[in-house]
């Protein structure tokens, strides 16, 4: 069954088509959810919520742009709604003095996908969301500021800090960093 037939079936609320669509995209969308969620249980909640929204709104898909991109946007929105994102910007993490770490290009390639996802999920929530939206999903700072209700400068700052912290974590992981006091 091709993608169009699958979408038509989902619009008609046929259970077989809905399940097939789930089988097709659930693994990818689970990754999206894991990147935004605080933990795995929350990610599963977001996944369920996202698919329910998807089936309820699939008739709004206009065949403009990629279907996967449209689905991904639904799951990102579901993630943002889950945590009421405006609160994230108020987070105090106390990492203002983290020194920038230089990450060699080959280090990221050498890491597994799951290792990177785990590191991203360990970022403070405010940083994690902005990093995911900007770097992975490709939102602009203007779009992020509108979606999260923050100004563009904050979005840029959060991204900078997130990037620094992630680089540090990658360095720690790859170098088995353990400093004596």
């Amino acid at each position: 069954m091709n993608e169009e037939a699958l979408i038509e079936g989902c619009i008609r609320q046929e259970a077989s088509c809905q399940k097939q669509l789930f089988m097709l995209y659930s693994r990818k969308m689970m990754t999206v959810c894991l990147r935004y969620a605080r933990n795995k249980a929350d990610a599963e909640d977001i996944l369920q919520d996202g698919f329910v929204r998807l089936y309820q709104n699939i008739h709004q898909y206009k065949n403009e742009g990629s279907f996967e991109g449209w689905i991904r946007r639904i799951f990102v929105n579901a993630s943002l709604k889950k945590y009421q994102t405006k609160k994230w910007t108020m987070e105090q993490t106390g990492i203002e003095h983290v020194a920038e770490e230089k990450v060699e290009a080959g280090i990221v390639d050498a890491m597994s996908e799951q290792e990177i996802i785990v590191l991203i999920s360990k970022l403070p929530e405010g940083y994690r969301v902005v990093f995911n939206m900007y770097v992975i999903e490709g939102f602009s700072h203007r779009e992020i500021s509108e979606l999260l209700g923050i100004n563009e400068a904050t979005s840029r700052t959060q991204l900078l800090k997130a990037r620094k912290q992630l680089q540090q974590k990658i360095c720690e992981l790859t170098m088995h960093h353990e400093r004596p006091i």
Binding site: T31, L47, Q48, H97, V135
Partner: protein
């Protein structure tokens, strides 16, 4: 450099895939197509059953005859007709025998036949109206003040009936000069005179009641016994955990207390509802011969190196081996709303009852404690009640059935003993928890019932 880093990260994880739990689709499907909630059926069925029972117990106009035409000896009779034997009766009256004494078969195949009545010159017999109804002929509102022996010519059966009962004397509340005449009931022909003269016995015989009596009451029930717990695994990996829990469980009891108000409907039926509470106790005696205990300490400090602040994180891990003994206790407390119906019956002058109904769980509180070896709650845990996230805050409906014996202490006070079975229909554990946990209860109880 940052752009390169971003590109590397994005290319690495944009299309990454992660395993999804098997239960995810089922949960989504449940949200898309929720199961039909049929709880309301209970609330409709119960009053419907009561209404049906009440309507059956309510005698109609034809049932009035049917109730009265069976004597203690089982002999069929029809209501009394009083007449004065000193006067000649029915000398010249004739009743068409075909209609007056139809066979059951004939009447059954006749749609509203109207019996033919011929009045004679003798006014001693006054038949005001003879009608038939549906499938059975009857004479309604007829005031027979006398019947003539001449009727025997056309209706020999009636003559036989008259002669059979003519000599039976009865007490007449009017002047004592009347005799009672009882008829043998003739199939298909019911005489139902709406006379004002009624046998006084009718008024004292309970079987002649035309409406059910409703009496309110209060009941206090206490019961206790053994709950039977059973698990259903949603994930097979937890088999060992289930086995461990079943093996380590030491003791289990449950108690219920219910305060009910209700109404007796007639002599045999009652309905009641109220509030109740049930508490389940469990004790687990857990011993792990080769336990491992891991302690991880993490210290995060901001230190200054050459005047520059730097965050330092240090961690240490301590692993301990040995035997772990843990005695723990679980307590589940439920607030409930029971809705019950009871049917009472007698066996050799002993009053028994069966009752059944639903118990709606309004709230569930769970509490776990660590116990000392002598089974006292340790001071480690606070005594505040808290809801564990693995349990539900409400468990839904239970169904229950009981058999009991009723002892009458006085006219308005009764003591009841009963044995009951109760089945929970909902899980105690949350839907996302992989091990569902339910209980059955086998209880013995006693209740005090006070009628207002």
């Amino acid at each position: 450099m940052n752009d390169q880093f971003d590109r590397n990260i994005r290319s690495k994880i944009y299309l990454a895939e992660t395993d999804v739990p098997d239960s995810a689709w089922q949960a989504i499907e449940l949200q898309l197509r929720p199961r039909k909630n049929r709880r309301w059926l209970f609330l409709i069925l119960l009053p419907a059953v009561l209404a049906f029972y009440w309507s059956l117990s309510q005698p109609g106009p034809e049932d009035h005859i049917a109730l009265s035409d069976v004597s203690d000896t089982g002999k069929s009779i029809v209501p009394e007709i009083y007449f004065n034997p000193s006067k000649p009766i029915l000398e010249h009256s004739t009743i068409d025998s075909e209609h007056a004494l139809p066979s059951t078969h004939k009447v059954a195949n006749t749609i509203n036949p109207r019996p033919k009545v011929t009045k004679t010159a003798n006014p001693l017999v006054e038949v005001d109206q003879i009608t038939t109804s549906k499938n059975s002929s009857s004479i309604n509102q007829s005031h027979l003040r006398g019947l003539a022996p001449g009727a025997a010519a056309s209706s020999p059966s009636i003559e036989n009936i008259f002669s059979e009962y003519r000599d039976s004397k009865i007490e007449d509340p009017t002047d004592g000069a009347f005799e009672k005449l009882n008829f043998v009931r003739i199939p298909g022909l019911d005489f139902s005179p709406q006379t004002n003269l009624r046998d006084p016995k009718i008024d004292v015989c309970p079987s002649f009641r035309t409406s059910l009596q409703i009496r309110p009451f209060f009941e206090l029930l206490i019961s206790g016994g053994l709950p039977s717990k059973y698990y259903a695994l949603k994930e097979t990996e937890l088999t060992n955990y289930q086995t461990l829990r079943e093996r380590t469980e030491k003791e289990r009891t449950s108690f219920s207390l219910q305060a009910l108000v209700g109404a007796d409907i007639g002599d045999r039926f009652e309905v009641k509802t109220g509030l109740g509470a049930t508490r389940i106790f469990e004790i687990f005696d857990y011993i792990d011969e080769s336990a491992t205990r891991t302690i991880k300490n993490i210290i995060i400090d901001t230190i200054f190196v050459n005047g520059v602040p730097e965050i330092r994180k240090d961690s240490s891990i301590v692993i301990q081996y040995g035997q772990r003994i843990k005695l723990s206790q679980n307590r589940y407390t439920a607030l409930e709303l029971p809705v019950m119906a009871t049917y009472k019956f007698k066996v050799q002058n002993h009053q028994f009852f069966i009752q059944g109904g639903v118990i709606m769980n309004l709230a569930l509180w769970t509490k776990g404690d660590i116990l000392t070896p002598d089974e006292h709650i340790t001071s480690i845990d606070t005594k505040e009640s808290r809801s564990l996230p693995i349990f539900r805050s409400r468990t839904g409906l239970d169904v229950t059935a009981s058999l009991g014996y009723e002892l009458e202490l006085s006219e308005s006070n009764k003591l009841r003993v009963l044995c009951s079975f109760r089945q929970t229909l909902g899980d105690f554990t949350a839907s996302e928890y992989p091990l569902s946990q339910r209980y059955n209860h086998y209880h013995l109880g006693a209740s005090w019932k006070h009628q207002f």
